[in-house]
């Protein structure tokens, strides 16, 4: 079986980000971040490539805006992601939906060569009350999003963003608090099980221009 990627429009999808030419403010962000990029040649190049992919998503109108990027040690990117974000329900208004989240993305050199815990990549800097079974709710300085029991070595950041989008919009989330993988917020998991009719919070694809892959035989 042979698979091909086709898009209905000429606008690129996730697999075509390397063809996107950065320009304007996005290009300035890239150049600014590259001023201090330390580590081995391979690690420097990897950080640049991952950041470029993220910026390319912003360039083609994806639901993110890069607020800050740091290539000096670990790769750290702060992005604002536009999507419905579930916030802790109140007695008066029930579930509240935010329209964006500010995310901290952390990508270490270790992540390129060893599988990492699903909790080690995405931190929710704002809002501070995300109501999600896979988002921590303890006394940590920021909320942590769990992407699963293990993230394979070298997993691209663009896919981490895609998973984050799917998770926070509740298109793909783990609700079963009895699952061995566990949940990070048991109370939220049980709440969402009782309110499954609210799912998902959005049916918008991550990149609107990307059509489903057509598989040709």
């Amino acid at each position: 079986m042979k698979s091909t990627t086709s898009t209905s429009s000429n606008r690129p999808g996730l697999n075509d980000l390397s063809k996107v030419e950065l320009s304007g403010a996005v290009l300035m962000k890239m150049r600014f971040a590259q001023l201090l990029n330390a580590g081995s040649t391979a690690w420097q190049a990897r950080k640049v490539a991952e950041l470029r992919d993220v910026l390319a998503i912003e360039q083609i109108g994806g639901p993110i805006k890069v607020l800050a990027a740091d290539l000096s040690g670990d790769l750290k990117i702060t992005v604002e992601m536009r999507m419905p974000v579930p916030r802790r329900p109140t007695e008066e208004s029930g579930l509240r939906l935010g329209d964006h989240a500010v995310l901290g993305l952390l990508y270490t050199f270790e992540a390129t060569r060893q599988p990492q815990p699903g909790t080690s990549f995405v931190y929710i800097l704002d809002p501070g009350d995300v109501w999600h079974p896979n988002v921590s709710s303890g006394n940590l300085p920021v909320q942590v999003l769990c992407l699963g029991p293990s993230v394979p070595a070298g997993f691209p950041l663009k896919h981490i963003l895609l998973l984050t989008y799917a998770s926070l919009t509740m298109m793909a989330a783990q609700f079963d608090d009895l699952d061995p993988a566990g949940v990070l917020n048991r109370e939220a998991a049980q709440w969402w099980q009782r309110n499954a009719h609210l799912l998902p919070l959005s049916r918008e694809p991550f990149l609107k221009t990307t059509q489903a892959r057509k598989v040709a035989t």
Partner: protein, 415 residues
């Protein structure tokens, strides 16, 4: 009246007198083509063994009998009843750690053997834990451990002897990775699609609370090697032979070759091993720098200069195991609090915000495990100890093309 301790000592002395310890060289042959001090050369050799099971355990015994100077034994697993079928173990040792048992046996064979034991997966060792070894022997059926050991040996420039077997075809094979310059082959270079699938299936998984589950250790992922005891011994014998040949320079170089014996045909095949350009491992060698002072007593400037690097270089990256660097923290009020301190992973770093007087806790985005030395500009002449990294047994520095591992010159012998 004699104390128990005194009588015990006397008994030991009496037994020792009855069984005098043989000289290490009593049975050492005059090997063809070697200099006279071949035994002395072996007596300087330190070997690390990753996996002390049916193959690695036997290699340890052989090397102890050959009179090597030291062994580093690494194995997190324990003997099980089924181990009796293939391992050098007895019913009394079931339930005990393999590396621990082998260390005891090797010490009883050769009391002045330096033995260091690590009862944990090789992935959890520091790079500096293997730095004293002259050769690394790997005999594990855990593919993630193979890739990791291969990577460490490339980084450290350590020859790696990989002993393996295939029970169904009575085949014992030993691969020798020379790792002279980091550009040669490694175990991962030789992986095919099936190996990578098995590798991925045996990778660690984490529950939401961060607890690691290792399928290989829990026995849920890996299928134990099915083999016969003699084949394991054959693989161990071949591996030991390669170690000795390399250490004494016997015959043609065994570097980057695989020797394979087949029990059906009695054929032995030797083939060269090649590098795979698509190998995901990093084929770069670290330069090991030994510090005569405690690393934490050095300033950042001294550390960088000792390595021969330039602290003004903007691509120089420092990493201290289990430590993260916190440069500054941002309070919710927007004020920035400068920290410039190392903090152990897992410890909370808190400061009082000078603007709103609230307690600010450093988040994961405020910290960095690897930090550009350019960040140390203002604390370049402060001892690392005062920057929060008090106990450290290694530091690594990387720039675009070079890598350094800084270790103390004298490491305490640990068991």
């Amino acid at each position: 009246m004699k104390s128990f301790a005194q009588s015990g000592r006397k008994r030991t002395r009496r037994r020792a007198a009855a069984n005098p310890r043989p000289a290490r060289t009593a049975r050492f042959p005059r090997l063809v083509g070697t200099c006279a001090d071949a035994a002395a050369a072996l007596a300087r050799l330190r070997v690390a063994i990753v996996g002390c099971g049916s193959v690695g355990g036997r290699v340890a015994l052989h090397l102890a009998r050959c009179g090597v100077r030291g062994l580093v034994l690494i194995d997190p697993k324990k003997y099980r009843p089924v181990s009796l079928l293939t391992h050098e173990c007895y019913t009394e040792t079931i339930g005990q750690n393999k590396a621990d048992v082998m260390a005891t046996v090797c010490r009883s064979i050769c009391p002045d053997l330096e033995v260091r034991v690590y009862v944990k997966p090789v992935q959890d060792l520091l790079l500096s834990d293997l730095v004293e070894a002259d050769v690394v022997v790997m005999a594990t059926d855990n593919l993630p451990a193979e890739v990791d050991t291969g990577q460490r040996c490339i980084w450290l420039g350590k020859p790696l002897v990989h002993a393996a077997l295939h029970g169904e075809t009575l085949t014992a094979s030993v691969r020798f990775f020379l790792n002279s310059d980091g550009q040669g082959p490694c175990p991962a270079c030789l992986f095919g699609p099936q190996e990578w699938r098995d590798h991925d299936a045996n990778l660690r998984r984490y529950s939401c609370d961060g607890t690691a589950h290792d399928p290989c250790l829990e026995g849920t992922g890996v299928v134990p090697t099915r083999s016969l005891s003699f084949l394991c011994a054959m693989s161990a014998d071949l591996a030991t032979n390669q170690v000795i040949r390399h250490a004494l320079g016997l015959g043609r170089s065994v570097g980057d070759t695989m020797v394979e014996y087949n029990g059906y045909t009695h054929r032995t095949v030797v083939v060269p091993l090649g590098r795979n350009s698509n190998c995901p491992c990093e084929h770069v060698q670290y330069r090991v720098v030994r510090s005569t002072r405690q690393i934490s007593d050095l300033t950042m400037r001294e550390l960088v200069e000792m390595a021969g690097a330039n602290h003004k270089s903007r691509d120089l990256l420092l990493q201290i195991p289990n430590m993260r660097w916190i440069d500054q923290m941002t309070c919710k009020c927007g004020a920035v609090t400068v920290v410039r301190h190392f903090q152990p992973y897992g410890d909370l770093c808190t400061k009082k915000c000078q603007t709103c007087k609230r307690i600010v806790v450093a988040g994961p985005m405020d910290a960095s495990g690897a930090v550009a030395t350019a960040a140390f500009d203002s604390v370049l002449d402060v001892p690392i100890r005062r920057l929060g990294a008090r106990a450290m047994s290694q530091a690594t520095l990387r720039d675009a093309n070079r890598a350094w591992l800084i270790v103390p010159a004298h490491r305490e012998a640990r068991q």
